[in-house]
């Protein structure tokens, strides 16, 4: 039998083997943990939202949202919009003194190279973002002009889309080499990466922005997908900052001494998408769609299922162009929902297939969908729920020119982003499906007036004029209950050790960019 003495004698051996609690590394290193990681570190090929979690630490664009969510000039020192109204030209002057991590200066040629890469379908995936730019004209090493075939409001909403990548180095190492050892102009320099494990970065001493920069030498980003393990890593001191605190543990975190939390909108927007364009579907009737909207007590579901980690919204969110605080969410009114169903000719309700996502792309998304569908059944909209994993769910919810189509109600999402802009999401969810033009990729609506307005907002560069059109779309969409019934936007909570970490949240990279961070002495 193992005696207590023998056990005690074994402890030094365990210590020699390195067994003991893992603590966050020394005073010049900040160790953090993310629940998910970028699939690439090359911004010219990135496509998924999660890719930008890490990319924004290494790379920069011409514009960047500040901590208040205002889009400010970043690598662009200044820019103007000129040319003809239907063929605008954006004239951009780059900031002086911006260096890549290999200390070569940023020039217009680097952005021209990024433009070529990001418009090449053999290289990039978001090539449609460059579809409206017909020419890139270099004026001098710090100035260039983007010539547009037609105005593109999303170009501005996406911070002019292009990322600063060093042309010479990229050509030298190639695409694969660049992904293995990326070089950008961002506040952090690449050191090493092990997929599924960690990304190691070092603060870039030659970084141009002296006011907003990291004040710690090294940053280690661990990847811990399991929520409880990530929390355990934080509680044991192995990491000093984590993202996505599980909603069920928020009250626990509030009691932890010396721990700060910050809760923000994740950038995603959820809604119930309805097959409103099928001639024989009850959902074609606006009264039925309104009944769906009134049947669900979203406030109660958010409180009980998400522990409050969700925020209701009505078409647009606060701070978004065109936002109107008077446009409030549909109230919970099951009585009126039943009356509307009766008026529409469904006094006994009807059966409908309700598609739900089981993959946790957002916290408790499966349970949220189930709760929403349960409320619908209470008023007579009897959901026959089909649970789908992500691949099947996205195939069901996206339109496709030849295959079967969604014929009921689907719990769906389309992010307005951080800072929010509805342009891209609404092009997909409101506009009538037109596959060759890229409109209506997940739309089950067909409303010519809304189509015209969605196309119009895309072609307006003036922020105020565009906001007015977006506001009009929001009201019409809400009134006609088209393009999806908005339900909630998920909130995400970050936690860090107050006595060790001084972190200023920046919205870039869905709030996961370490633009300004320091270790306290």
């Amino acid at each position: 039998m193992l005696s207590r003495r023998a056990f005690a004698a074994g402890l030094p051996t365990l210590a020699a083997l390195g067994i003991g609690p893992a603590l966050a590394q020394g005073s010049d290193t900040l160790t953090v943990a993310l629940g998910a990681e970028s699939t690439t570190l090359d911004p010219t090929v990135a496509a998924a939202g999660v890719d930008y979690y890490m990319i924004n630490d290494l790379f920069e664009q011409m514009l960047r949202p500040d901590p208040g969510g205002q889009r400010i000039n970043w690598l662009a020192e200044s820019w103007t919009v000129g040319g003809a109204p239907d063929k605008p030209i954006i004239d951009i002057t780059l900031r002086e003194g911006v260096l890549f991590h290999d200390n070569t200066p940023l020039t217009s040629a680097d952005f021209e190279f990024a433009y070529q890469l990001m418009g090449d379908p053999k290289h990039a995936r978001n090539v449609h973002q460059q579809a409206d730019v017909e020419a890139f004209e270099i004026v001098d090493p710090r100035r260039f002009r983007l010539h547009f075939k037609q105005p593109d409001a999303l170009y501005l909403a996406l911070n002019f889309t292009l990322w600063a990548v060093p042309k010479k180095y990229y050509e030298q190492v190639g695409r694969e080499g660049f992904n293995k050892a990326p070089i950008g102009t961002g506040p952090w320099k690449f050191v090493s990466r092990s997929v599924h494990e960690e990304l190691r970065l070092e603060a870039f001493e030659g970084y141009w922005n002296k006011a907003h920069r990291p004040r710690v030498k090294n940053l280690v980003i661990k990847v811990i997908p399991e929520d409880l393990t990530r929390v355990a890593a934080f509680k044991t001191g192995a990491v000093d900052w984590i993202d996505a605190v599980p909603p069920s543990m928020l009250s626990d975190f509030a009691k932890l001494p010396g721990v700060s939390t910050r809760t923000v909108a994740s950038g995603n927007n959820l809604f119930l998408n309805l097959a409103a364009d099928l001639p024989n579907s009850p959902l074609k009737d606006v009264r039925v769609r309104r009944a769906v909207a009134l049947a669900v007590d979203m406030d109660a579901i958010i409180k009980k299922v998400l522990f409050g980690q969700g925020e209701r919204y009505s078409e647009l969110v606060s701070g978004e162009p065109g936002y109107d605080p008077t446009l409030t969410p549909y109230p919970y009114d099951p009585k009126q929902a039943r009356e509307l169903l009766r008026d529409a000719g469904y006094p006994n309700g009807f059966d409908v297939i309700c598609y739900n996502l089981t993959t946790p792309r957002e916290p408790s998304m499966k349970e949220m969908g189930e709760a929403e569908f349960a409320y619908l059944s209470q008023v007579g909209i009897r959901c026959r729920t089909q649970q789908l994993e992500y691949g099947a769910w996205i195939t069901t919810g996206l339109r496709n020119p030849t295959g079967p189509r969604m014929d009921g109600i689907i719990s769906w999402m389309s992010g307005h982003g951080v800072p929010p802009d509805p342009g891209s999401a609404w092009a997909g969810q409101i506009h009538t499906y037109m596959p060759n033009a890229g409109w209506g990729g997940y739309s089950f609506s067909a409303d010519p007036e809304l189509d015209a307005l969605v196309e119009q907002q895309r072609r307006i560069l003036d922020p105020e004029q565009r906001a007015a059109v977006l506001n009009k779309i929001a009201h019409l969409k809400h009134e006609r209950v088209l393009g999806g019934i908005t339900t909630y936007r998920p909130l995400v909570t970050f936690a860090w050790r107050t006595d060790k970490v001084d972190w200023t949240p920046w919205p870039a990279g869905y709030w996961r960019t370490f633009q300004e961070v320091a270790l306290k002495a």
Binding site: L17, V195, A232, E389, L398
Partner: protein, 306 residues
Amino acid sequence: MTRFILRRLGEGAISILGASLIVFVISRLSGDPVVLMLPPDAPASSVQALRQTLGLDQPFVIQYGMFLTRALHGDFGQSYRWQMPALRLILERLPATVQLAVAGLCFSLCVAVPVGVFSAVNHGGWIDRMGRIFAMLGQAMPAFWVGLLLILTFAIQLEWLPAFGYGGINHLVLPAIALGWYPVAAMTRIVRSAMLDVLNTDHIRLARALGIPERLIIWKYAFRNAAVPLLTMLGVYFAAMLGGSFVVEVIFAWPGVGRTVVEAVFSRDFPVVQAGVLSASVMFVLANLLVDLSYGFVDPRIRDER
């Protein structure tokens, strides 16, 4: 012996070829990967262009032929999701998975062999009962639950071991227990019943009559005979641990192949699924070959037959 090894390797190659066909067909039945790779607002022309770039517009037979030809040259294509060579992604993760599987298997053996042997020697006694309870616990609790309990106890409460990550031996202990506890019950039962059979044979009774020390009888004469069925199981369990460690890898943020392949299945990342499954097939064949060879080591009669 050489002929035996060559024959087994030939059979293994046929198995791997069969696995390649099955994984190729099944992965393509899961749907179109392009819809997961492009944003929803991508026009149909972009979707078609990407399909062509990836060769997904080709007839199935041609796709399979191209895949086999390239695979023979070690090229499994670029991961759709990670945008790097699929084989590189798998091979970089393989050492972590092998390390975890070996450690898990070692844990299983370290528990199952002594418990099985002592349970047989003292069958009905308290060691037998306690051993079986411990072994059954591992089989009764799912690996994710065991993993979380271990983290809660040894990382958070006792602060002895790290809660996650890949590194030194200290990082390996908890995931190895979470992975290795499950097969302990089956292994213990195999060892126990095989030992009970052997301990009742004439040659063991003769050894006792000759006054050979009991320890020598148990470990040298009885256990060596009882080890053959255990060896058969080891090959199967090692392969299962290589391919089935996904849950443990996620719980402990362990950067292994299982997690990579399962994520690839969900994102329809065909090249990674193919590279991962075929790598696992190769490991499976090799593990079973080693098991076959080890029979001869523990039982000279099997060696002589070859």
